[in-house]
């Protein structure tokens, strides 16, 4: 950082704001850390329900938690083999 900027109190962000931002990000991550077992159980339950309605590719199915800076999302990629004819 240049001396001029420092004298004027500009140029670099105050360390408190850096700390806050780092803390926010690390907590987004910590709070959404779900165990692989739990994710696997969730996937199994989802597959069970969806199988009632369509023929899906169980092996090709992926369930993941994705988080970026602002949000957290549960993403499921479930390939469909065939949709059953249902009368409802």
């Amino acid at each position: 950082m240049d001396l001029f900027g420092r004298v004027l109190g500009r140029g670099s962000e105050r360390s408190k704001n850096v700390a806050k931002e780092r803390l926010r990000l690390v907590l987004v991550h910590d709070r959404t850390s779900i165990s692989p077992q739990l994710l696997e159980a969730l996937k199994e339950d989802m597959l069970k329900v969806i199988s009632n309605y369509m023929d899906i590719d169980r092996r090709g199915t992926e369930v993941t938690i994705n988080s970026d800076d602002k949000s957290v999302a549960l993403t499921a990629n479930i390939p469909i083999n065939k949709i059953n004819r249902i009368s409802i």
Binding site: R14, S15, K16, L27
Partner: protein, 265 residues
């Protein structure tokens, strides 16, 4: 029937033991019957902070394993008659006691004491589980650092999972000068992030070093700012209304902090 309060933090070195000693002593000075329990088996320190290290005969593990009666292990404080310490064992490890035994012990203690204050070890393993087993209330201690607040957040989650809801926060070792310059997180930053109620804020204070050297809690030192802060926290624990931040009327962080500490603006 008394109340069982655990002092915890996750991260080590943020001031759990100092907080336990000061809150316990302050409550005793207000006339309550208080027992402080050190659950840091293998790394006991509460005895030293209280200046009672030379009086230990029996400890927590002796009580749990039936080597002595509970009363024999309780060490009377030098200053207050109704203040006692149940020290941790120094030569065993955390597995020497179970959460069930801790629960039984706190049940017994709260029959006789108004407050059972538990000093929890750092970490989230067995020692933490033991410390919170019999607790009805929790106070989470943190300092204005990323690592300490992060661990506090984790602890709040674990406390909730153990049905210890609404823990309160003590922000320790805050430096108003650095907060003012924007080089330290302020009280609101931390409350916003952790989303829990504030029990109090303790400023960094050299008196703490001196009082720890002497084995005399800072609440007994009328000149210690930290001691004043701990006295206010103790009052809040008993339900007394000691003013917290009032954002609208405070002028700057110094004013806020002075108010928080109970000084007149």
């Amino acid at each position: 029937m008394g109340e069982v309060i655990v002092i915890t933090s996750g991260k080590g070195g943020v001031g759990k033991t100092t907080t336990t000693a000061n809150i316990g002593t302050a409550l005793a000075s207000m006339g309550y019957k208080v027992v402080m329990m050190d659950t840091d088996i293998g790394l006991r320190n509460l005895d030293v902070v209280l200046g009672l290290e030379n009086r230990i005969v029996y400890d927590l593990v002796d009580v749990a394993q039936g080597n002595c009666r509970l009363r024999q292990a309780l060490i009377k404080d030098k200053r207050f008659e109704h203040l006692v310490l149940l020290p941790a064992a120094q030569t065993k490890d955390k597995s020497a006691v179970s959460p069930e035994q801790m629960k039984e012990l706190t049940e017994k203690l709260k029959e006789e004491y108004d407050y059972v204050i538990i000093d929890c070890p750092a970490g989230i393993e067995q020692g933490f589980k033991n410390a919170i087993a019999g607790a009805e209330r929790a106070i989470v201690v943190t300092t204005p650092e990323v690592a300490a607040v992060r661990d506090a957040d984790r602890i709040v989650g674990l406390l909730e999972a153990a049905e210890l809801r609404n823990p309160q926060l003590v922000i320790n070792r805050i430096r108003p000068d650095m907060v003012k310059k924007g080089d330290m997180m302020d009280i609101n930053d931390m409350i916003d992030i952790l989303a829990i109620e504030l029990a109090g804020v303790v400023p960094e204070d050299e008196h703490i070093v001196v009082s720890t050297n002497r084995g005399e809690p800072a609440v007994l030192d009328a000149n210690s700012l930290a001691g004043q802060a701990y006295r206010n926290i103790a009052k809040r624990i008993t339900g007394e209304q000691v003013p917290l931040i009032s954002l609208e009327t405070s002028n700057g962080i110094m004013g806020k902090l002075r108010k928080l500490l109970g000084f007149k603006a």
